[in-house]
């Protein structure tokens, strides 16, 4: 492990980094406590192959307590059964489920919940204020490509608003022929499209620029999630209203306490922007913008304005706080890149990944995610020797535009130290860079480098004992 770019932390950055490490440590401790009562002779321990064998009632109590601890919110714990993990309800486990009747149809009130044995949760970046913070998706626990709506990462700047859709509308005005207002029902009458896309926060991995900081893939890469989104194409609304000559930018505004605003190029809006009301077959989750959000496939997450209430068409960008003081990329020469909105090609190995342990040499099916904001993933390569040699990974499905993809690679670990890496190439020919390549371009000033758009190759080191750790290699 080397630290080629030693971090220079100021007080605020040091505190943030320390708190982040502590928050992750609490989450890891919770996982380990849940694993402790598993069969000690099983290779499944250490959380590596999650087993649904948590049958002890104490565990349910523990899990419920951990929800409050992780979320820092008693309201969330109150919303669910105290004995069950977040999003689940507790039921007594029969000695033999074939010898007694189970629960009645619609015993769930008509809306299902996850099993009481499934405990995975997001955990929150410990910003001082939990109303302006973010939470990460447990990528290492994902069993498919789509992210369950309840585990979709979050980033809020003024909390999650409660919005009555009957009182919500979208106003489209500015440089249009006829400014109009649409209710949610109005919008649902338009022709709609349904598409699978990822959303990634451009701050994903910001702790990892200057030194390996967090242990798990949830911490280093958890600000990406994938959903199926349904809504009206912006181009449909543009045709309906008519665009005036010279219209070149669109301001999107949210109805949260931050009244979040971003300016988006008209070219992007007409290409593939969606005014989305559906997520994974149902209405958007409140934390994902209910009842309406902007979806800009491949653009950084902050631009996908949630709780969308207004689109103002303009000839110039508005230079909002988010697109000047925040989501800009400071380079080594003191200049900052602005409107750096597309998410570059990226991939990460989720199994094995940081803080796991390989029990013994033998066969392991390496797994991960790959994605690009510029189209489809073309190929993914895997290295087990720190990037000296690369082999093509198997793609888990046909690549779709601006959507994550699962990949896998069969690996026989010989018990010697190894460094696992994955590298994504997208259909434009762009190859995911090494951290060294990226820092040569972006510089390494600041405690968190130039903060956003870290898409470098991730390295997981496996030592002789089988411990997997986050390293810069």
């Amino acid at each position: 492990m080397r630290q080629q770019h030693p971090a220079v932390y100021d007080e605020k950055a040091q505190r943030l980094a320390d708190e982040m490490v502590l928050a992750e440590a609490r989450h890891i401790a919770q996982r380990k406590a849940q694993d402790q009562d598993l069969d000690q002779d099983c290779d499944c321990k250490e959380g590596m192959f999650p087993q649904a064998s948590v049958t002890d009632r104490r565990k349910f109590l523990f899990a419920a307590a951990s929800v409050a601890g992780v979320a820092g919110s008693s309201a969330l714990a109150q919303a669910a059964d105290k004995k069950a993990p977040a999003g689940a309800f507790h039921f007594d486990v029969p000695a033999d489920p074939t010898k007694e009747q189970g629960r009645a149809v619609l015993a769930d009130g008509g809306y299902g919940s996850r099993s009481q044995f499934e405990t995975e949760v997001r955990w929150r970046y410990p910003t001082p204020n939990d109303l302006t913070s973010w939470s990460m998706t447990p990528l290492d626990k994902m069993l498919g490509n789509l992210t369950p709506s309840g585990l979709h990462f979050e980033r809020h700047h003024g909390g999650i608003p409660t919005i009555d859709p009957a009182k919500h509308s979208l106003i489209v005005h500015g440089m249009v022929d006829t400014p109009e207002k649409f209710s949610i029902d109005d919008l649902k009458r338009f022709p709609s499209v349904t598409r699978k896309h990822f959303i990634e926060c451009s701050g994903n991995g910001l702790t990892e620029w200057n030194k390996p900081t967090l242990k798990t893939v949830q911490g280093t890469h958890g600000l990406i999630s994938t959903s199926e989104w349904t809504g009206v194409q912006f181009s449909t609304l543009a045709r309906e209203l008519g665009l005036k000559e010279g219209s070149a930018w669109v301001l999107a505004e949210g109805a949260d306490a931050a009244v979040m605003t971003r300016s988006v190029p008209m070219e992007k809006m007409l290409k593939d922007a969606l005014v989305a009301y559906g997520q994974n077959g149902e209405a958007l989750r409140p934390e994902q913008g209910y009842p309406l959000r902007l979806l800009l496939p491949g653009y950084e997450g902050n631009t996908h304005i949630k709780w969308l209430r207004r689109l103002e068409i303009s000839d110039k960008p508005f230079m909002t706080r988010e697109e000047t003081s925040k989501y800009t990329d400071l380079l080594a020469d003191g200049k900052a890149r602005q409107f750096s909105m597309e998410m570059d090609a990226k991939s990460v190995i989720t199994f094995p990944s940081g803080d796991m342990k390989l029990p013994r040499p033998g066969f392991y099916n390496i797994q991960g995610f790959a994605w690009t904001g510029r189209g489809r993933v073309q190929s993914v390569d895997v290295s087990v020797d720190g990037g000296k040699s690369w082999y093509p990974a198997q793609l888990g499905s046909s690549p779709e535009p601006i959507c994550t993809l699962r990949f896998s690679f069969p690996w026989v670990w010989d018990g010697k130290p190894a460094v696992l890496q994955s590298r994504c190439t997208d259909e434009t020919g762009y190859v995911q860079p090494t951290l060294k390549q990226l820092i040569a371009i972006r510089g390494s000033n600041g405690p968190f480098g130039s903060v956003y758009h870290l898409n470098a190759i991730q390295s997981w080191a496996v030592n002789e004992a089988g411990d997997v750790a986050n390293v810069h290699a």
Partner: protein
């Protein structure tokens, strides 16, 4: 040359021509008409102020008045010396200092050192500050507190009055600090 509007119309026409008459009868109308007209009242509470100051409201304020507003509504989170407050439950950004630091190993990004436009400060304060009561300040108070922050940052004089005419003319120290996105770098292509 096609304008964007014409392009959309042409596309519509093309689709119409290509469709059979039977399909056309069931096709999408040229105008759906699902929306309702926007009234001035609908837009009354909405604003977004670009660098040219378009949409700035009437009113004015200076640093002296702004100091009072800041002490009452801002200092708890941003510090009485505008130095920020990282305390748990607060976490207000630092607003002052950092000039000349952006190209060093320890860049400090503040309103003074990093923000390129004074209009953005007005827009943001009016939009979402103070954190505990977003959007509660009157326009005169916003002009005043913006004047106070800019004055403390030595961007304007303590006696300068901020209003719809003067604010867009303020030149921030990092006005020329931003460049277009250079990605994707060709060096990263195979």
């Amino acid at each position: 040359m096609f304008t964007r509007k014409n392009l959309l119309k042409s596309a519509t026409l093309l689709v119409s021509v290509l469709m059979s008459s039977a399909a056309f009868a069931q096709g999408a109308p040229a105008h759906f008409g699902f929306g309702t007209a926007v009234t001035p009242q609908d837009l009354a509470g909405y604003f977004s102020i670009p660098p040219d100051g378009r949409g700035l409201p009437p009113g004015s304020g200076n640093a002296a008045a702004g100091a009072k507003v800041f002490a009452e509504s801002c200092a708890a989170c941003h510090g009485d010396k505008l130095q920020g407050n990282p305390t748990a439950g607060i976490g207000g950004d630092r607003l002052l200092g950092g000039r000349g630091s952006l190209a060093t190993k320890t860049p400090v990004k503040t309103v003074e050192s990093y923000w390129p436009y004074a209009t953005t400060l007005f827009d943001y304060v009016k939009r979402s500050m103070p954190f505990s009561a977003p959007g509660s300040l009157k326009d005169d108070e916003i002009y005043a507190v913006v004047a106070y922050i800019l004055s403390e940052a030595k961007v304007i004089k303590p006696t300068d009055v901020m209003d719809a005419k003067t604010l867009p003319k303020v030149v921030m120290p990092n006005h020329d600090g931003f460049i277009p996105d250079a990605r994707p770098e060709l060096s990263l292509y195979r």
